[in-house]
């Protein structure tokens, strides 16, 4: 998968779960081992994305960490607040 496809996957998962889908943004950083996807949502929606005991965040991570990037780097997801 390409980075753009992962970004798209994150948006597809997150947007239906928030009240303000237009405020969802995914940025990107990388180092030698990881590609970091940085998710930011409207301040009102941060709780929805993290969930009780971080369960929603955990589930999103489980799904996207399974992704294999073409560059063989691992995927990481940061939720910005």
């Amino acid at each position: 998968m390409t980075e753009a496809e992962v970004t798209n996957l994150i948006l597809t998962i997150v947007k239906p779960l928030v009240e303000n889908p237009d405020d969802v943004q995914v940025g990107q950083k990388q180092d030698d081992h990881y590609v970091y996807f940085e998710l930011s949502v409207n301040a009102d929606d941060i709780g929805r994305i993290i969930g009780k005991h971080g369960q929603v965040a955990q589930a999103i991570r489980t799904i996207i960490y399974g992704v294999r990037l073409a560059s063989s780097k691992r995927v990481r997801l940061n939720i910005l607040d």
């Binding site: 996957l9 597809t12 239906p16 779960l17 969930g51 005991h53 489980t62 799904i63 399974g66």
Partner: protein
Amino acid sequence: MPIFTGKNVDQAVTNGLATLKLEKSQVEIKIINEGKSGFLFFGRQKAEVELIEKIVTKKSTSKKIVDEKKEENVVSKPLTAEEKAARSQLNEKAVHDVGYYLADITELMGIDTEINVQFERRQVTYDFNTSKQGLLIGKHGKSLNALQYLAQVNMNQKAVSRMNVILDVGGYRKRREETIERLAIKVAKDVIRTGETIQLDPMPANERKQIHFYLARNSRIKTTSIGTEPKRSVVVAPKKKTH
């Protein structure tokens, strides 16, 4: 999905399709009662069928299907008492939307799949028919459970009443359940035979619950759980004699 009745099976299906405004090719038909013509008034039974809508994703076409279906759902008219019908309509729309949510995600994950939706009272099952089962299930169902959780969260936001969401891949849940039951029975036997306490491997909450459930009836052992998620595990111990 709703159940429809008619004089015979064909009639019941036709009624159902007319109500749902769907084509025969878009549903899976499950016959609940074939119906009997009976003798005079005795033993006459209406045929009952359950219609299960199929959601099919094929890479390029899925977006189109989403739009069409959404329209259909808005058009379809409720049948019975207005409020109740409005609620169940909203719930059905939620079932629908969550189905497409799952279809969109799996498509982006590179998993081509057909999703069969079964909707009965408070429980919705999305059954995935795919050639990439392993990818969708993950190790010990990790991916499938994560996806199920997200679908549940999405459902809770959309549906009016509380609905339980289950994702299944070609009978995976059933197979896993049978495995867990066998494990529970085996462990119970070992504990009773040796009189020693056994701690099982870490398992997700629903699987621990199954073990507790299977062994609750057994008066010679007791079960507890120790550790913290996600490494919480069941402990099966012999029950101390009370006298």
